[in-house]
Symmetry: C2
Subunit: 145 residues, 2 copies
């Protein structure tokens, strides 16, 4: 990872391909006391926008997001070829969109995503967030590591 000063950036097409792989994002927020908070989250990357879902009452991170502050997102491959994307921006709440909940849950759960979506639609505080990155940086460590 520290080889990144020598690493090249990914092209927009490579970023799309990398973020299409099923992998978690790690989403960082600042809590009410000004301290960092991070957690793994499911995500979809579609048309250069991140989509996330959480519950805004039951999840600390969800509360932090709903307050409208900036978030930072990190996605990295644990296996070769090593690649990483870090993005920052201000997420917007979209509401409980069934299509998006289905898309994200089937990405991570396959056929069992349907059951998850049914349950999620019953949760009154379930929301979808849209994050258009204000900044996005990427690395392809390629053969450097």
């Amino acid at each position: 990872v520290d080889a990144r000063s020598h690493a090249r950036s990914l092209s927009p097409q490579e970023i799309d391909a990398f973020l299409a792989e099923v992998r978690l994002a790690h989403l960082a927020t600042v809590d009410g006391r000004g301290l960092p908070r991070v957690r793994p989250v499911w995500f979809l990357w579609d048309d250069r926008v991140f989509w996330f879902t959480t519950r805004i009452r039951q999840r600390h991170t969800g509360r932090d997001w709903a307050e409208g502050g900036e978030v930072s997102v990190s996605v990295a491959s644990d296996d070769q070829p090593y690649r990483a994307v870090i993005a920052r921006g201000r997420p917007e709440v979209v509401g409980r969109d069934e299509g998006l909940l289905s898309a994200v849950s089937s990405r991570y759960l396959g056929g069992r995503g349907k059951l998850w979506t049914t349950e999620a639609l019953r949760q009154p505080d379930r929301v979808v967030f849209r994050l258009e990155p204000a900044t996005l940086i990427s690395w392809d460590y390629g053969s450097l590591l």
Copy 2:
């Protein structure tokens, strides 16, 4: 990931086994403007303590760490069985310990870690951080997802 409200915690032995697997940690800090920053980092988990390394002048996150604030760390498996660990605490700078630099670079780079360590020892701002978690939470999603 949202099934975590039903997930059980990992036992201390399971946490040790999970964090022994070669995987990146995602380390979140708060920058000078009060905004969240997150990046993937190499880590070692030894005797219930995280060890990280970075450069404190060349890396934004390194500067944030060196200022002594609290950090938050997220480690999660992208593949089944799905597990995750999130820890928070205040890292301490340990200096450029050759043994630790070798241990962490060989974990991620195998035999090529030696070359990396040689280069790292030449970097004047290269440091090792020790993070004893003030809080640590874990999930084993097991068959829930």
